[in-house]
């Protein structure tokens, strides 16, 4: 309850600071936030688009949250998303199967690719004690540059633009509501959140993951094989991010290009923090950020407030969440973030 209150306080404070910033440059905060809400939730199209923006944030947010629960800080969701999206797009363009086989396979390929990419960081942490914080940052850049290279060279479609060939028609996720971009990806992401919540709470593997997050040493004495548990946690985290990449490819772009994600994987860190790493909480916080991102365009168009204000609010949400966590010094989030603080290499 206390943690819930501190999350709401962090979001409210950040929005209030955003309002103050608007007053500083003579904009009307009430009109601006009004336009944001009206745009994001005032119509069927607007609401559907908010859910569209929520979907990748929800999946990547779940990924970051599950890593937090294992005591790991996955900053690499963006890279895992890119790798998942690229592999999903290549597979979807290459294979022609009936829809009912092709779509699940494309998702599986995206999740596997994202999971493997993140597992590299998990393995380096488990085997050599290399901090996953640093390795996931580095793997992000390797993924961006690698994807850039592949789409401008070897994997470039027939198009002049640096992007892969379109996926086959049977791999396309069609809109659920006509006139919108909302696909089955959104309900799937909700199911993923519920499944993750159940898995963490009701299975042995989920329990072991949480035990490692609470205390590696205690988990080891309790008989948990810590190394593989860390690799599994990172793989699961990356698989969720990879899945987010797949949904963007199958549902929206139908191919891969470097502009696929406006930074969902980075925003997902804010999503997971605000949700205190609870899978069901992630649904709410992903919706909050999805609403902000979608509404920002309307705020810019109708109230003349630049959409970048939302990034400022986002930064402040992260900052205030970080400050809120310590008030409950033994709270989950505190334990959940990183090995005992060490960056570079984890204490053994």
């Amino acid at each position: 309850m206390n943690r819930l209150a501190s999350s709401f306080a962090a979001a409210a404070l950040a929005l209030a600071a955003g309002a103050l910033a608007m007053l500083a440059f003579h904009a009307d905060p009430i009109a601006a936030y009004g336009a944001l809400l009206q745009g994001a939730l005032g119509s069927v199209q607007g609401t559907a688009e908010t859910f569209v923006q929520t979907t990748p944030l929800l999946l990547t947010g779940l990924g970051v949250a599950v890593a937090f629960r294992a005591g790991l800080f996955n900053i690499g969701a963006e890279g895992q998303l890119v790798v998942g999206a690229l592999c999903s797009a290549v597979f979807g363009a290459w294979v022609h199967l009936p829809t009912l086989a092709e779509i699940p396979l494309c998702f599986a390929v995206g999740a596997a690719a994202g999971g493997l990419w993140a597992a590299i960081a998990g393995w380096l942490r488990a085997r050599f004690g290399a901090s996953e914080i640093i390795t996931t940052i580095m793997l992000n850049y390797i993924a961006f540059l690698g994807a850039n290279y592949l789409v401008s060279g070897p994997l470039r479609g027939s198009n002049a633009a640096p992007e892969t060939a379109p996926i086959s028609p049977s791999a396309v996720l069609h809109p659920l509501v006509s006139g919108t971009r909302l696909t089955a990806a959104f309900p799937l992401a909700l199911i993923a959140a519920a499944a993750l919540a159940w898995w963490l709470r009701r299975t042995v593997a989920g329990y072991e993951l949480r035990a490692v997050g609470q205390s590696e040493r205690a988990a080891r004495y309790a008989g948990v094989n810590v190394g593989p548990a860390i690799v599994r946690a990172m793989a699961l985290s990356g698989a969720l991010a990879g899945l987010a990449g797949s949904t963007e490819v199958l549902g929206l772009l139908h191919r891969f290009n470097a502009q696929l994600s406006p930074g969902y994987g980075f925003t997902s860190i804010a999503v997971a923090l605000l949700a205190n790493s609870s899978p069901l909480g992630v649904i709410v916080s992903a919706f909050f950020f999805g609403l902000l991102q979608n509404g920002a365009l309307f705020m810019q168009a109708y109230a003349g407030v630049p959409k970048d204000l939302v990034s400022v609010v986002e930064g402040l949400v992260i900052l205030f969440s970080a400050a809120g966590m310590l008030r409950s010094a033994r709270g989950r989030a505190r334990v959940a973030v990183g090995p005992e603080g060490g960056v570079g290499t984890a204490p053994t």
Binding site: L124, Y141, S311, L316, L319
Partner: protein, 301 residues
Amino acid sequence: MNSALAIATTVAGIAILKSTPLIYAALGGVISENAGVVNIGLEGMMAGGAFAAVLASYYTHSLPAAVIAGAFVGGALALVLAYFAIALRANQIIVGMALNVFAVGAAALLLTVLFGQPGTSPEVRSFSSIASSSGPGIAATLHYALVWMALGLVLCAHVILYRTRVGLHLRAVGEQPRAAAVAGIDVMKIRYVATVLGGVLAGLGGAYLSVGEVDLYSDGMVAGRGFIALAAVIFGKWTPLGSFGACLFFGLFSSLQIALQRATVPAQLLEMLPYALTIVALAGFIGRSRPPASDGVPYEP
């Protein structure tokens, strides 16, 4: 033969210019991490510094003011990190991430609010714009002043860290803060000063990017250099000279890219190298890279 030499000198020259902003930011990271504060917000501090320098140059037309403004904003952002990380004992990684998002967003917001044009600032008086008005000689001298200053700061930092009492205290605070406190060292104060100093240096690196290399600020212009600097800190094993060498090495790759534009090696693969090497270094394949013992750990007196 002569032309090969000329190419080599050009590549080396560009390498030094390309690595200068990295040297500033990495040195900032080395100083704060040796005192036990991880600065993952270097990217944001560079962006803040780059934007502030352009803003100051726009309003004052003075280059010294621009450089000072860059350093000041970098330091101010670091003060936020210091307050949250040291006084509130918040998670340093999260605060650093927050600063990255905040600084880049705030710069983009102010760009639109102040100049009415999203994405890019107007062109301002810069080290390169002086070149066209008063001849290349003076501009080169001024430009190189920033480069030489970076080299000087690296040497200063090396001497201070390893040859003076203050440096010993700083490293003690990063390794064993409790023992340092028992010995009468003010752990909080040293961590504050080191963190803010780190931000000042990152801000200088940002100023070099905006008013040194070009004459404007544009969204995304820092382009991951803060994270390359972070990589250089690790690759250089948390020492000023080591990270300086790492920056030069990484800068060499940026310049090779320019020299080898027509070559068969794709630019992106060369750009990947710093990141890949850092992973290799962390895993211990080329001599293990170990951080100060209490790096990133909040001190609770």
